[in-house]
Structure formats: structure tokens, C-alpha cells
Subunit: 212 residues, 4 copies
């Protein structure tokens, strides 16, 4: 690591400082957006949460909306990484592992996700560019996962599309209370149990064989 070019180093250092500050602001903003929603959050709220002057925000973001978009963009990178590991999923146990992994990620940055979901509820741009895109990927993967097992006879001839949507719904249903803050975040053991319970229900249903 012989640093022959000092100016390059300086630039890097400066860039890192800027990036750190940007992230700190996004972090504070995501927190407030999550609690009050984007529209009800004032730049003053954000500045207070980020512990900077209100005008300082504008050294890092064009405007308030740009902070939201920054949050959304930053989020993408982190989420995309996780979904890649889903590809290896084969056995019931691996499904549980992936489930837990995604839950970990989502809950570890819950205020980012909560902020985005809240805005996506009223904002088509955020919805389509940041949530629908991602959910479609997941849904496609799951549909394929189901269809293959239906073909092999491992699964009953269920509608792959509906099946995929239901897993997603169950997953969301499982974490939503914690995301929204009505329930505390589950600890690691609870997460695994939750995941196992959901997967078991999804695979085997509730029926003992004689309910009709």
C-alpha cells in the first residue's frame, strides 16, 4: 500500500467524510420518516435528529425528497445482496435459513424499510421503483421454485403464482408487527421458531387429513 499519490488519498478521505455525513443524515431521516411518515416530517425534524443545522442538509441533498430517494437507493444495495443467497434454497431446512436471513436483514434496518413502505403506500414512483421491482424478483423466483416441485410431484398441483404470493404474504405478516412497532423485534431464537412455524404451515397446511 505504497501511497504514491497523496491527492488521490485526500480525495478519498474527503469522499468518505461526505459519504459518512450523507449516511448519517439518511439514517436520522429514515428514523423520523418511519415514525411520522415522509409528508409529516419537517426538514427541521430531520436536522434535529441528525444533529446538524437545517441548512446543512442542503449541502448533502438537493431537497427533502432527495433524502427519501437517497434512502431508497441506499436500501437497494443492501437488500439485493441478501436475495442472492436465496438461490441455493432446496430443502425445507434451507427455506427456513433463507427466511431467517431475510428477516434479520429487514429487521436490522427496520426504520429504512418502514419509511419506504409508508411512502410507497401513497407514492407510485417509490412503490414501483423500489418495492414492486424487488417483490417481483422474489415472486418470480418462488414461482419457479414451486413450479419445479409441482412438476416433480413433490408438491401438489397448486397455482404457483398464488403459492408464491402466499409465502410472501406470510413472511410479511410475520414481521409486520415488529416493523410497525406494535410488537418487539423477535430475538434470534424466536425468529427461527417463527420461520419454522410458517414454513411448516405453508408446506403441510393445518389439515390432519380429514377436514373438508
Amino acid at each position: 500500500m505504497n501511497q504514491s499519490n497523496p491527492s488521490e488519498l485526500l480525495t478519498t478521505r474527503r469522499d468518505r467524510r461526505i459519504e459518512r455525513q450523507r449516511r448519517q443524515i439518511m439514517d436520522a431521516a429514515a428514523q423520523v420518516f418511519a415514525e411520522k411518515g415522509y409528508a409529516a416530517t419537517t426538514t427541521k425534524d430531520i436536522a434535529l435528529a441528525a444533529d446538524v443545522g437545517e441548512s446543512t442538509l442542503y449541502n448533502y441533498f438537493e431537497n427533502k425528497r432527495d433524502i427519501l430517494l437517497g434512502i431508497a437507493a441506499y436500501q437497494e444495495a443492501r437488500l439485493d445482496k441478501v436475495f442472492q443467497q436465496a438461490v441455493t434454497m432446496e430443502t425445507r431446512q434451507q427455506m427456513v435459513d433463507v427466511f431467517v436471513a431475510v428477516m434479520d436483514i429487514v429487521l436490522s434496518q427496520s426504520h429504512y424499510i418502514r419509511a419506504l413502505i409508508g411512502e410507497a403506500w401513497v407514492n407510485d414512483e417509490i412503490l414501483n421503483n423500489h418495492l414492486v421491482v424487488r417483490l417481483s424478483q422474489i415472486s418470480d423466483f418462488l414461482q419457479n421454485f414451486i413450479a419445479k416441485r409441482v412438476a416433480s410431484g413433490a408438491f401438489r398441483p397448486v397455482d404457483a403464482r398464488l403459492g408464491a404470493r402466499m409465502v410472501i404474504a406470510e413472511f410479511i405478516g410475520a414481521i409486520l408487527p415488529a416493523l410497525r412497532g406494535v410488537e418487539p423485534q423477535p430475538d434470534p431464537r424466536q425468529r427461527r421458531e417463527l420461520a419454522e412455524g410458517i414454513i411448516a404451515l405453508w408446506i403441510d397446511g393445518v389439515n390432519n387429513g380429514n377436514f373438508r
Copy 2:
């Protein structure tokens, strides 16, 4: 001008007119709240949608928030009626019927529900008094429904609480895209198929007996 009981009649007529106007305003407001969210909606938006002057709103509601609360209260009455019929649910077919009935109600007043969900996402008062209350009732009923069948041996020994939450999640997952407006509302036949598919999955799972 034959008024057998002028004062009583007038009051009644007047009350009805007032109530009609209130409802018209709530309807218009719910529409706008659903689209833009409560915080981003201005009283001007509401007045325009309701086709009245902005200050006229204040003859029917204390303030902007009061319109939201009015919407929430109005909603309760309508929803409560539906849930009562759920009590009779016994067979798989009856489950489907209830499912469809609730779906019909929810989708028929989708902008009310959409408005409330949006606000509940950031507003604990709305969340607790209007959504959690209702979902708890449903969850309690479902847990009991499941527990009884587990006890009778009709269902496998599943966690009743988790089972209940999963039905709810699946139901919500099924109608959310239409509620949010990313998908068109399903027609009656599609609703029944959807309900049947979900119930079938929930009861029997995807497993063909040999997936582990």
C-alpha cells in the same frame, strides 16, 4: 305546506341533510387521503374533491384531523356488521363464503380502508383504535376456531396464534395489490377462486406427502 309536526320534521330533515353532507365530505376526503396520504392532503384538495368551499368543511368537522376520525368511525360500523356473520363459519365452504364476503366489503370501500391503513402506518392512535382492535377480534375468533379443531383432531397440533396470523396475512396479501391500486379489483368469480385457493393452501399446504 302541511307540516303535521313542523319542528320535529324540520330537525329530522335537517339532520339527514347534514348527515348526507358529512358523508359526502368524508367520501371525497377518503378518496384523496387514499391517493396522497393524510399529511400530504390539503383542505383545499378535500374541498375540491367534495365540491364545496374550503371553509364549508368547518361547518361539518372541527378540523382536518376530525375528518379522518370521522372516516375511521364511519368505517367501523360497516365492518363490524360483516364480522358477525363469521361466527357461523364451520365447513371449508363456509370459510370461503366468509372470505369472499369480507373481500367484497373491503374492496367496495377500498379508498376508506386504504386511507386508514396509510395513516395507521404512522399514527398509533388510528392504528390501535381502528385496526389493531379489529384485527385482534378477528385473530381471537380465528385462534379459537383453530384451537377447537386441533382439540377435536381435525387439525394438526399447530400453533393457533400463528395459524390465525397466517390466515389474516394471506387474506391481506390477497387483496393488498387491489387495495393499493397496483392490480385491478378482482371480479366476483376471481374473488371466489382466490378465496378457494387460499383456503385450500392454508388447509392442506403445498406438500404432496413427501417433501421434507
Copy 3:
């Protein structure tokens, strides 16, 4: 004046009230714009001068710029009327009359003109749409006026374009000090003398016949 349609009357009255208020704001704004320039004038300045709340401005104009454009548009109507009488100009005496008439108009609404000139100095839109347009009309008329007299032998073979520009320059040079406020506005007698002096100089020059 049998007013058979009361609603029409009401509308008219209301419209008149709105128009009066708009004009009052434009008047106050023109005053401040003239003194400080558009950019240095705050909406607070305007509101104070118009004796209304700052937010009231926005009931009558979209934004600050719109007030300026309102002033410009309002100005057009008044100026255009004057220039029409110029067409009759034939004799030296009539030239003086027109000169005085235009001077009267311009000085009677000096703060409007001063505001516009100030902004036209830095704003191409205002310059082209409101000053150049008008000056071109005048210049065209004058060029024609000169060309005809050159053709008839009444004038020496001067360049009509230059001649026209020079009358305009002389006129502006005559009123500019009063417009800008460095000199008091000339009284009617002074205006006539000024007009006569300028026309005389323009027609006959300074030469006594032997300066070369």
C-alpha cells in the same frame, strides 16, 4: 339599467373587487420594485407596501414573478392606447403634442415603467416581450415618418433608422432623470418647453450654417 340577472351582477361586483385588490398589490409592488429592483424586493416589502398580509399576495398572484408579469401586462394596455394618437402626427407642432402626451403618460405611471426598465436590464423575457416590442413599433413608425419626408424633400437624406433611434434616445434622455428620480418631474409648462426644445434641435440641429 334594469338588472334582471342578480347573479351576473354579483359576479361582476366580485370580479371588480378582485381586480381592484390585484391592482392595489401591483401598484404597491411597482413602487417597491422601482425603488429597490425586483430581485432585491421581498414579498414582505410588497405586503407591507400593499398593507396586506404576506400570504394574501398569493391569493391574487401565483408567485412573486407573477406580480411582475402582472405589472408588465397591465402596463401594455395603458401604453398602447397612447401610441395610437401618434399616427396623426404631421407638423412640427403635432410632434410636440405627441411628445408631451407620451411624456405625460410615462411620468404619470413612472414607477411602473421604472420597475419594468430595471428588470428588463437583466431579464431578456421582460426586455423582449415588453420593451423591445413596443420600441420597435415606435421605431418603425418613426422610420416611416422620416423616410416619407426624406422622399418628399422636406428632410435631408438622413438615415431613417438612425434618425428614428435618435428621437427615441432624445426622448428617453429627456425623461430619464425624472423617471429615475434624480430630478423632479417637470411641470406641464416645462414638459412643453422640453418637448419643443428637443424637437427643434432634432429638426434643425445646432448649426448656424457655418460649423464644419
Copy 4:
């Protein structure tokens, strides 16, 4: 590193560098002031145009206004030089020469002048200290020039004050379009023709002897 007189030399070199930088900033600022006007120009605009950091401006000027005053002061020096040669003006030809000389100077630094005129329009300090002062000198000189020729019988008995103001107005009217940027700057030949035309008109008028 042979410095015969290190401290003196350094100071001098340093002073020159400082002066060069000041001038560069004033030049950039004048350019932007000319285009947008002083009030609408931000320090960021100036810094960008001068290609320095925003805070660097404050090493050379007290504040934004000080830059404007610097421009005004710098301008004086350059203009004063020119007016001195006017004293020699005697013949018609010499008048044209002076006219052209002043036109050259003014147009060569048009953005300085344009910036100052723009600000003088709304700022009495700039107007009086920088424009009126100068124009008064010129006017005085011209009045004297005219009065002498009226006394000698070379000129008709015109009002010297009005005559002076008219030459000035004609000069300004001739270069204003180029100054403001609505017309391209005239090339040297055009300048001479313009000057000759104006002087001719001023001296001999348009009359062919029989217009009244």
C-alpha cells in the same frame, strides 16, 4: 534564490499577486452582475465564474457589496483617462474621434458598465458616486463647448444644457443596444459611421430648410 531585497521584493510580488486575483474576481463578478444584476447574483455564482472557492472571495473583499464597489472604483480610473482627451475637441472631425474613442472604451469593458448601470438604476450611492459624477463632468464640458460656439455665432442660440443632454442621450442611445446585448457590438468601421451619423444629425438636424 538571489533576492537582493527579500522583504520588499516579496511584498511587491505578493501585492501584485493579490491585485491580480482581486481583478480576476472583479472581472468575473462584473460579468455575472451584468447578466443577472447584483441582487440576483449569488456569491456562489461569482466564485464559480472566478473559478475560486466561495470563501476565497472573502480574502479579497469584505463582502459581496464590496466587490461591487471595487468594480465601480476600478472603472473610474479607466474612464477618467478617456475623458481627458475630449478637451482637445474642436472640429466636427475631432468630435467624431472623441465619440469613437469613448465608444471603444465603453464597449471594451461593457460588462463592467452594464453591471454598474444596472445597479445605479436602484442604488443611489452607485448612481451618484459613479454615474452622475461622471456624466456631470461630461455635461459641463459639453455645455461649455456649446456655449462658446453659440457666443461665437457658430451655433444657433440653443439651450446649452439641453444641447449637452441631447448629445449624451444620443451617444447612450447609440451604444445601449450593444451594451445590453440586444445587438452585436459594432465593428470599428460601423462605430465610425455611427459616430459620424450622430454628430451630423446633432449638428445639422434633419431639416432641409423648409420643414416647420
